[in-house]
Amino acid sequence: MTFLAAARFWPILPEPGLIFWTILIFLIFWTLMSKFAFKPIASALAKRNGDIEDALKTAEQARLEMANLKSENEKLLSEAREERAQMLKEARDTGAATIEEAKDKARQEAQKIINNARQEIENQKAQAMREVKNEAGNMALEIAEKVIRRELKGDPSQTSFVNDLVNEIKLN
C-alpha cells in the first residue's frame, strides 16, 4: 500500500483537477483560435484559391487572345508582304513600260529627225539641182545668146523662145 502510494504510476491515474484544466484550457483555445485564427485563415485560403483560379482562367483567356492577335498579325503581315511584292512588281512593270515608251519615243523622234533630215537633204538637193539647172540654163542661154546674137542679131522671137525653154526646165 505504501509502496504503491509512493511509487505510483501517476500518468495512468485520471485526476479530476487535470481533466478540469484540460477541458477549460482546450475549450478556450479552441473557441478563440476558431474565431480569430482558423476561420479567418480558412476563408482567406478559400478566397486566395478562388483568386488563383480566376487568375489562371484570365491568363488562359489572355493567352488565347494573344494567339488570336498573333495569327491576325501574321495575316496582316503576309498581306502586307504580298502587297509589297505586288507594288514592287507593278513598279517594275511601270518602269519597264516607261523605258519602253521612252525608247519608242526616242526611236520615233530619231526617225522623225532622220526623216526631216532626209527631207531637208531632198529639198536642198532639189534646190541645188534647180539652181544648177538655172545656172546651167542661164549659162546655156548666155552661150546660146552669144551664139545666136552673132547669128540672129535682133531677133526677139528667138529670145522669147529661149526664155520659154528655160522656164520649162525650171518645172522639172
Binding site: 511509487a7 479530476p16 487535470l18 479552441w30 483560435m33
Partner: protein, 439 residues
C-alpha cells in the same frame, strides 16, 4: 534581433542546466541504490514545481486544493508558499498540505493542526533503517509489526523498495503519514478517493497553458499575415503554417468528413492537432519550460478524447443513430447482437483514442529515462566510474536514437488523433444513400 540573442542565451543555459539535471536521476535517496523504475515513474509524473537541478525548484502559481470533508478550499499564490527546501521538500505545512519532492501531498492525520505549521523531514533517512522505532511514533502503523513476521522473499524485496518511499513529515518530533490527491480510477490503477482534490496549476497544467499561449501567439500572427498580406504568397511563419493547415484540410478533413461538412470541423481538428503536437514536442524537451509529460498523462488525453466523443455524437445525424441502434438491411436476430456491439463502439472509439496517445508518449519517455538510467546502473550510482563512462556513451547514442524516434511519434500521434477524430466525425455526419431503400 534582441529577442533572438536572448533566446540563444536561454537555450545555451538550458542545455547546460539540462546536463546538470541528470543529478535528479540519483535523487531516489542518497544511500539507497539507484532504482530505474522508480526514477522513470518520478520523471513522468505530474508535479507542483519544475525541477531545475540540484535543490533548485521553480515554483508554480495558483495552488488550489479542495477538501472533500468540508474543510473548504485552500488557495496558495504559488508552491513557493511551502518554503521549498532541500530535495524539493517544503518546510511549511499549510492546512495539512505539504510539498514533498516537488509534489503536494497531505498529512493524513486529522489531528494535525490546520493553517501554517513549520515541519521538518529530518526523520526521513532513519525511517527505513529503523522501521520499528517509527512504528510507535507513526499513527497508522499499529498493525505493521505482526505482519512483518510472515513476510516472504518477495515481500522482503518490496520492503527494500519501500525504504525511502515511506516518507513522513515530522512535527514536534512526531512522524506523520502522507496521502496523495484524489484520482478517479476507483482504486483500479492504485489510486482512489482521498481527503482532497487538487486543482492546482501543476507542471502539466502549466505545460498546456504554455502550449496554448504559444500556439495562440503563432496563429494570431499567421491570421494577421493573411489580413495584411491579402492575395500575396505566404511568407515566414505563415509559409510554415499554411502547408500544415492545407494538409489537415485536404488530407484529413476533406477525405474523412467529406466536402459538404468538413469546413465546420476544421477549427476543432486544427486545434486538436496543434495542441497535441505542441504537448508532445514540449514534453520531449528535458528542461524548463519543457519536461511536462502532458500528452503522456491519461487525464489530459481523456479530456481531449471527450471533445471528440461529444462532437461526434452531438453531430450524429439520423443515419448514424439508425446504424447504431437498429442497423438497416440485416435480420432482426442479428440486430440483437449488432446493436450492443455498436453501442459499445460509441464509447470504445474515444477510449482507444486516449489510450493510444497516452501509451505512445509515456512509453517513449520511460524508454528515454531508462536509457539515461544506464549511466547510473552501470556506474553503480557513482561507485564505478568506468561503468558510468561506458553507460554514458551507450546512453548518449541510445537516447539520441530514441529521441529521434520520439520526434516521429510526436508528429505521428498528433496526426493519428486528428485523423481518427475526423473519421469518427465523418461517420456521424455521413449521409447513407443506400439506407433510404432499406427503411
Amino acid at each position: 534581433m534582441r529577442t533572438k540573442s536572448i533566446f540563444r542565451v536561454f537555450l545555451l543555459l538550458a542545455i547546460l542546466i539540462g546536463g546538470f539535471s541528470n543529478q535528479t536521476l540519483a535523487s531516489g535517496g542518497n544511500d539507497a541504490p539507484f532504482n530505474p523504475g522508480e526514477t522513470a515513474l518520478h520523471h513522468i509524473a505530474d508535479a507542483h514545481t519544475f525541477h531545475f537541478f540540484g535543490d533548485i525548484y521553480i515554483p508554480l502559481p495558483a495552488m488550489i486544493f479542495y477538501d472533500r470533508n468540508g474543510e473548504g478550499i485552500t488557495f496558495l499564490p504559488s508552491s513557493a508558499s511551502f518554503d521549498i527546501g532541500k530535495s524539493g521538500n517544503g518546510n511549511i505545512a499549510i492546512d495539512r498540505y505539504v510539498l514533498q519532492h516537488g509534489v503536494v501531498r497531505r498529512i493524513k492525520d486529522t489531528s494535525f493542526p490546520m493553517g501554517k505549521v513549520n515541519i521538518s523531514w529530518e526523520g526521513h533517512a532513519s525511517h527505513g533503517n529503523d522501521h520499528s522505532g517509527h512504528d510507535h511514533s507513526g499513527h497508522d502503523h499499529a498493525g505493521h509489526d505482526h505482519g512483518q513476521k510472515e513476510k516472504g522473499m518477495k515481500d522482503k524485496i518490496m520492503d527494500e523498495l519501500d525504504k525511502g518511499h515511506e516518507v513522513q513529515a515530522f512535527y514536534n518530533g512526531k512522524g506523520f503519514d502522507l496521502e496523495d490527491r484524489t484520482t478517479l480510477d476507483g482504486g483500479l490503477a492504485g489510486g482512489g478517493m482521498t481527503s482532497y482534490m487538487d486543482f492546482s496549476i501543476t507542471k502539466n497544467v502549466f505545460t498546456m497553458l504554455f502550449v496554448a499561449f504559444l500556439l495562440g501567439f503563432v496563429f494570431l500572427r499567421v491570421a494577421k499575415a493573411y489580413r495584411t498580406r491579402d492575395g500575396q504568397a505566404p511568407k515566414g511563419l505563415q509559409g510554415f503554417i499554411e502547408p500544415l493547415f492545407v494538409f489537415i484540410q485536404d488530407e484529413v478533413a476533406k477525405p474523412m468528413i467529406g466536402e459538404k461538412h468538413y469546413a465546420r470541423f476544421m477549427p476543432y481538428l486544427m486545434s486538436a492537432f496543434f495542441f497535441i503536437l505542441g504537448l508532445n514536442l514540449l514534453g520531449q524537451i528535458p528542461f524548463f519550460p519543457g519536461s511536462g509529460n502532458a500528452s503522456g498523462t491519461i487525464s489530459i488525453t481523456i479530456a481531449l478524447a471527450l471533445f471528440t466523443f461529444l462532437i461526434t455524437n452531438l453531430n450524429g445525424n439520423r443515419d448514424y443513430w439508425t446504424h447504431i441502434l437498429w442497423m438497416p438491411g440485416i435480420p432482426a436476430a442479428v440486430k440483437l447482437i449488432i446493436t450492443p456491439v455498436e453501442v459499445m463502439g460509441v464509447f470504445l472509439k474515444p477510449i482507444v483514442l486516449f489510450i493510444r496517445l497516452f501509451a505512445n508518449i509515456t512509453a517513449g519517455h520511460i524508454v528515454i529515462v531508462a536509457f539515461v538510467g544506464l549511466i547510473f546502473v552501470l556506474g553503480e550510482s557513482g561507485k564505478n566510474l568506468v561503468g558510468a563512462g561506458v553507460g554514458a556513451v551507450a546512453a548518449t547514442f541510445l537516447t539520441m536514437f530514441m529521441m529521434a524516434l520520439e520526434l516521429l511519434v510526436a508528429v505521428l500521434q498528433a496526426y493519428i488523433f486528428t485523423i481518427l477524430s475526423a473519421s469518427y466525425i465523418g461517420a456521424a455526419v455521413e449521409e447513407h444513400h443506400h439506407a433510404e431503400e432499406a427503411h
